[in-house]
């Protein structure tokens, strides 16, 4: 694998590099964001390990700029404990995963492999339970069956999948999925959730979308 380590702490970068090399991979180091952007432009990496706290150009900014150029290289953010609250936040910046410091090399190596595998099989598919949601064809597949989803059902499911384990209020769904201000008299959200739930329940025993009284919905995968 061709790995880019973006880290201003030389010591950490060097030992990561050493470890990767001893596992038989190639690793390059970029000490700051600009250098990282240049390297990503000229070399095709299998994965980028990107430090969150970089001098001058912060990690998120680098991440955004890489994505803006259409580059889909997998990115793992290296963060300190308190900087990110969950995966969702990392995803929102276009990263594929995050690792908190201090990490062990085994952990980094395992995550790198997992992300690379996931992205290689398909960047455009999200797996949950026995289902596969294809982002490009906007279809939901279970076994050999394809389940037809309306536009809004698809958007809703995708939103839920990006926010697994998080309670989401109707107001937020209305805002984020429908891009409409929430009106209490409208049951748009409820009806779509109900329909989507019906479709998922038809093929699986697992109750993916659950309701919390007075709070909203939550998507539970485990």
């Amino acid at each position: 694998m061709e790995i880019l380590i973006v880290e201003d702490e030389k010591r950490i970068a060097e030992s990561l590099k050493k470890n990767f090399i001893s596992e038989g991979h190639h690793a390059l180091i970029a000490e700051n964001g600009e250098e990282a952007l240049k390297k990503v432009d000229s070399i095709e990496f299998d994965i980028v390990l990107l430090d969150w706290r970089l001098p001058k150009l912060p990690g998120i900014e680098v991440c955004k700029r890489i994505r803006e150029t259409g580059n889909q290289v997998p990115i793992i953010l290296l963060t300190a404990m308190s900087e990110l609250n969950n995966k969702i936040e990392a995803f929102s910046y276009g990263a594929d995963d995050y690792i908190t410091k201090p990490f062990s090399f085994e952990e980094v190596f395992a995550r790198v492999n997992a992300v690379v595998r996931r992205v290689k099989t398909s960047r455009n598919e999200i797996l949950f339970g026995d289902y596969t949601l294809n982002i490009l064809t906007r279809s939901l597949i279970i076994g050999k069956e394809e389940i037809k989803l309306s536009d809004k059902e698809f958007e809703l499911l995708r939103y839920f999948l990006l926010h697994k384990g998080e309670i989401i209020g109707k107001e937020k769904l209305s805002d984020e999925v429908w891009k409409l201000p929430f009106s209490p008299s409208s049951n748009l959200v409820e009806v779509t959730v109900k329909n989507l739930r019906k479709k998922l329940d038809a093929y699986s025993e697992h109750n993916f979308i659950r309701t919390l009284y007075g709070e909203g919905y939550i998507f539970i995968n485990d």
Binding site: K101, I167, R210, T211, D222
Partner: protein
């Protein structure tokens, strides 16, 4: 009882106010009573005086006898009968010889009053008791124009008529006294409560500030110059300083932990790299192992301090729900220790930060393993019960004495009996903080037959 009343400010104030009101009431009534008695006596005297003047004008003295000039004056019923307000009349000459007595004096047994020695403007008054009746007697020295003493007119009447008024006032007072007491209690209660209302509001606000948000301030309407206004300013200044200090400590810990994390990360990766080298001698391998262990210990300490430093943060972790059963499964695989016995229901969901709660469980499990014999089991149990999720970690070690049970959650507290064990005294503080943030509770019980049981109860997530 007395002690309890006196230690409670509200009750003490009510008592004082009540006693003051009662004293004022009693003083006022006594004063009224005496003043009234005096006034009534005075009015008897003037009636007697008036009557005696009439009589003196109706009689003339002549040696040892008197001449009645106007008989009508002696025909009044009050002089003949024992009426409600009778006048008992006796007329003496200067030598003390009785010259005349009214008809009604015969109707009561004979009485004799000594003539007072001193006269004031020819008048004198005395009280005397005749059987059970109190009487008032007036004396008038009759003189001629040359100021020669001619004789004495003695006129007596019952004091009872005036006495009745004073005593009925007294009775009225006694009857109404309980009623007044009740009113005084109510007034005292009302005023004390009322004057304490702003203080109670301050207490509530101050509690709210320390519990939720240190940047909040007291806001109530009060004149800046009165006591409540000054109290507001003082307290707000205090909160200001507190907030600053807390933020300083928090920043320091946060910063220190972050600064430590970087070298620790690099230390850890380097050690991991070393581990992979095959050229080490056995004693060198042992050294690397120790290096790795100690580095990990340090990382745990720093990570714990980092979380504790951010405890004042109001993270939005209640928006997240995780599967505890799945987490317990992961922990089971992570430890892979035959001493650990797990027992939990499927699909127990909890609200909070998954990574933090995992640290809670690992801390408790580590302690249980550490403080019990290496042959004994450690049980980890999770169940749902009455809307709560109950998680217990029990060991069969030496147990924790009752008096230590609260202290072990304090920062840097190390058990007296645990000197030989390694630890840094922050683990259980972290456990307690995280559990509290998740609206839960943790308590310690003795395990039977030996050891201790840590029980966490958290609100269960209920889906519709």
């Amino acid at each position: 009882m007395n002690k309890i009343i006196l230690t409670n400010t509200t009750k003490r104030n009510i008592l004082w106010l009540f006693l003051s009101l009662v004293s004022i009431y009693l003083i006022f009534n006594l004063f009224t009573y005496f003043e009234l008695s005096y006034l009534l006596e005075d009015s008897i005297d003037s009636r007697l005086k008036h009557e005696m003047e009439h009589i003196s004008s109706a009689v003339g003295f002549y040696n040892d006898s008197i001449i009645i000039k106007n008989m009508d004056e002696f025909q009044e019923t009050d002089l003949r009968e024992v009426t409600q307000t009778p006048f008992f009349l006796k007329i003496y000459n200067e030598k003390g010889k009785l010259l005349f007595k009214s008809e009604n004096t015969n109707k009561i047994t004979n009485y004799q009053i000594d003539v007072p020695e001193s006269f004031e403007n020819n008048y004198a008054f005395v009280d005397f008791l005749f059987y059970d009746e109190e009487l008032r007697a007036g004396f008038y020295r009759v003189t001629n124009r040359a100021n020669e003493k001619l004789g004495i007119i003695e006129l007596s009447t019952f004091k009872s008529s005036s006495k009745t008024l004073a005593s009925s006032l007294m009775i009225f007072n006694l009857i109404t006294f309980p009623f007044f007491l009740l009113i005084f209690i109510l007034i005292s209660y009302y005023f004390v409560k009322r004057s304490f209302t702003p203080i109670n509001r301050i207490i509530d606000l101050a509690n709210d500030i320390s519990a939720t948000n240190i940047s909040q301030r007291l806001t109530y309407d009060a004149d800046a110059n009165d006591e409540l206004g000054k109290l507001k300013t003082t307290l707000n200044n205090l909160f200001e300083r507190l907030e600053y200090q807390i933020n300083q400590i928090s920043h320091f810990s946060d910063n220190a932990s972050h600064q430590l994390m970087t070298p620790l990360t690099s230390l850890k990766s380097e050690i991991e790299f070393l581990e992979k080298q095959s050229t080490f001698l056995p004693h060198q391998i042992e050294s690397v192992k120790i290096l790795k262990e100690q580095t990990e210990r340090m990382i745990t300490i720093v990570r714990t301090m980092l979380i504790l430093a951010r405890e004042s943060d109001n993270c939005d972790c209640k928006k997240n729900i995780f599967n505890l059963s799945k987490m317990l499964n992961e922990i089971k695989n992570l430890y892979n220790n035959s001493r650990l016995q797990f027992s939990f229901e499927k699909d127990i969901f909890l609200r909070g930060r998954e990574d933090y709660f995992s640290m809670v469980l690992q801390n408790l499990i580590d302690n249980a393993l550490k403080y019990s014999d290496s042959m004994d089991n450690v049980n980890v149990i999770a169940n749902r019960k009455d809307g709560l999720v109950i998680i217990s970690v029990e060991d069969f070690g030496n147990g924790i004495p009752t008096e230590e049970r609260e202290k072990i959650f304090e920062r840097f507290y190390r058990r007296i009996s645990s000197e030989s064990q390694k630890g840094f005294g922050l683990g259980l503080t972290l456990v307690k903080n995280i559990v509290a943030k998740m609206d839960g509770e943790i308590k310690i019980e003795s395990n039977q037959p030996c050891g201790s049981r840590f029980i966490i109860s958290l609100p269960a997530v209920s889906f519709e």
